[in-house]
């Protein structure tokens, strides 16, 4: 369907200049090397294939996180979210986790979601830290606003980082009073919680960039739920 570009111009938010996140690599507990890198708008259709199955998983609020992340990525793809970014973790090209957020103002970062597809290897912890690193060290922001949908998220981000409660204030995702990661908190927490090496060896990066491999739905559900039984 032909697009009314005049109207579209009104609906599309203007994009700000955002420095890119320099890729890094992390050795996981298994010894596998995970590449953490910034993805582009054109990668979204592939990412949606990975997010879609998670919307069926009520456990640990994966369905809410999945549905919202799906909408955010789609919004970015179709130019409906301003200054959105997405970082991903890949092992041998395979997508193991996604984090996203946006530049709310030049000073304030808005953290959206953290989705670990491969669980039990601290992928979510690594990627959340990378997201915070992007906001505070590459976008040069003063603070990041963070909220959690799940008790696990609350425990991990609010308590492990020691975030500052913004009593009575609202995050873009709504929900309860949110928390803020300030530069001071970041510098205290960074040695414990944010790791990675740069530059990424050329071959390792090339493998990640060549293809974002997404496991099939059954495999993703199996990795997330890890449920046994049906005897």
């Amino acid at each position: 369907m032909p697009m009314d570009m005049e109207l579209e111009a009104l609906l599309r938010p203007p994009a700000s200049q955002m420095p890119t996140y320099p890729p890094k690599w992390i050795t996981l507990a298994t010894g596998a090397k995970m590449v953490v890198r910034q993805l582009e708008r054109g990668d979204v259709p592939t990412l949606l294939n990975a997010v879609r199955p998670t919307m069926k998983v009520a456990r640990d609020y994966y369905d809410i996180v999945g549905a919202r992340l799906y909408a955010e990525l789609l919004g970015w793809y179709r130019y409906r979210v301003k200054d959105h970014y997405c970082l991903a973790g890949q092992v041998n090209g395979a997508l193991v986790g996604i984090v996203n957020g946006r530049m709310y103002t030049p000073e304030i970062g808005m953290s959206y979601h953290t989705l670990a597809i491969d669980r039990g290897l601290r992928v979510g912890a690594h990627l959340f830290a990378a997201k915070m690193e992007y906001h505070l060290e590459y976008l040069g922001q003063e603070e990041v606003w963070i909220t959690a949908e799940s008790p696990i998220g609350f425990r991990r981000w609010m308590i492990e980082y020691g975030l500052e409660l913004k009593e009575g204030m609202q995050h873009e995702l709504g929900g309860a009073s949110f928390y803020s990661l300030t530069k001071a908190i970041w510098h205290e927490a960074k040695p414990r919680l944010c790791v990675g090496s740069r530059p990424v060896p050329r071959e390792l990066l090339a493998k990640a960039e060549l293809e974002i491999r997404v496991a099939d739905e059954g495999h993703i559900l199996d990795k997330i739920l890890g449920v046994k039984g049906g005897d």
Binding site: T27, L28, T30, G31, A129, P151, R155, R192, V227, K228
Partner: protein, 394 residues
């Protein structure tokens, strides 16, 4: 006392169960154990269920009565046995004594826990209710933190290092890869959990010096055994595996009241009793399933049970003696570290593992020619410990 044999064994993979209730989860290995023995419709005289905290995890009590009903074992006697994480060991003990005394002939022992109905920190809190309410619990002490305090002293006294601890984890994860019942099927590397600068996030401090990969996972899981008098074994056409020895001992509830906090007195005594009853020594043992809820415990228990001198367990590990293929394989199942730790399920799963090895049915992880096995189930922080010596007999 009559000699007691294990004629049926059953287990379900440890991990997380969503669609099955606790009782359904316990029933699965029970049916497998009954089928393994081939008892058909023959009546079971009594049922003992090892479970620590269904009241807290699943809001259910009187689990043994519910299981007896679900499995149509009625009117069999049924008791739930609670001894913290050694509930499984205590349930087997009750079955053993009941058959040995001559009171019952056919006894089903089931151990299991469904911990993943609650989130991790709640499970940690539930397990911590084993500690002294006013002298320990109120401070936020957890079992990992008691183990952390123990580890600090053990390292100082015996030269155990973080590297040794990582070696226990790596060995047991590798063993777990060979065990279809294991909760964790992932090989881990020393680089990933210790040497790489990235390891601080991969294996963060849980309660120092213990890190994430020094601690067992929180598991759902269950296992079952069918016991009978040894003279009845011929009726079931199964290799004869007997419970040759049993021991159990307690120690102070609080760690602070122990004269030497690095001495696991209850482990020593339980093991000694089990070996004395079996008329065997630690040197006779072909494989051991120890309670490695924390990596340090595998090392410390291997010494306290008498396999190695105090301070030499870490060296034996380094030399590969405790790997499958070594002279004393420890935790070929993957142990609590990789097979998983389902509280009340653990002690029964340990003994089930021994039976498979003694029968030669342990698949890829089989300890060749195993004739004598040892298991140790550690309750509280070592304040209530059970030990078993199993033997294959002609």
């Amino acid at each position: 006392m009559r000699k007691v044999a294990i004629v049926g064994v059953g287990m379900i993979p440890f991990g997380r169960y969503e669609s099955e209730s606790l009782v359904e989860m316990l029933a699965m290995p029970a049916l497998r154990a009954m089928d393994d023995a081939g008892i058909g419709d023959r009546a079971v005289d009594a049922l003992y269920v090892g479970n620590m905290a269904a009241g807290m995890f699943n809001h259910q009590s009187a689990v043994a009565s519910a299981l007896a009903d679900y499995l149509a074992l009625l009117p069999a006697a049924a008791d739930t046995i609670e001894n913290g994480p050694a509930s499984g060991g205590s349930a087997i003990k009750n079955g053993l004594l009941a058959v040995a005394s001559g009171y019952y002939d056919l006894v089903l022992v089931v151990g299991g826990e469904k911990m993943r109905d609650v989130i991790g920190p709640r499970a940690t809190d539930t397990v911590a209710t084993m500690t002294h309410p006013t002298a320990e619990y109120i401070y936020g002490v957890t079992l990992p933190s008691l183990a952390g305090m123990f580890t600090r002293l053990y390292m100082e006294k015996y030269g155990v290092t973080e590297r040794h601890l990582a070696q226990v984890a790596i060995k047991n994860h590798n063993n777990g890869l060979l065990n279809p019942y294991a909760h964790i099927h992932a090989s881990i590397t020393q680089e990933g959990i210790l040497d790489s600068p990235h390891s601080v996030v991969n294996s963060p401090i849980v309660s120092d010096p213990l890190r994430l990969y020094d601690c067992c996972p929180v598991s759902d899981g269950a296992a079952a055994l069918l016991l009978c008098p040894a003279e009845m074994v011929a009726e079931f056409k199964k290799p004869k595996v007997v419970i040759a020895g049993f021991g159990q001992a307690t120690d102070t509830q609080t760690v602070q009241e122990r004269e030497d906090p690095t001495d696991l007195k209850a482990v020593r005594l339980a093991a000694q009793q089990a070996f004395a009853m079996a008329k065997q020594t630690p040197r006779d043992v072909d494989l051991a399933e120890l309670h490695d809820a924390f990596t340090i415990l595998e090392i410390a228990e291997s010494e306290h049970a008498g396999f190695f001198k105090k301070g030499e367990g870490a060296r034996a590990l380094e030399e590969g003696r405790t790997r499958i293929g070594g002279d004393l394989p420890i935790n070929p199942s993957g142990g609590l570290k990789a097979r998983g730790h389902a509280l009340g399920g653990t002690g029964v799963a340990q003994v089930a593992e021994l039976v498979w090895h003694l029968r030669g049915e342990a698949g890829q992880r089989q300890v060749k020619g195993a004739e004598v096995g040892f298991s140790l189930n550690f309750g509280g922080f070592g304040n209530n410990v059970t030990a078993f010596v199993l033997r294959r007999e002609a």
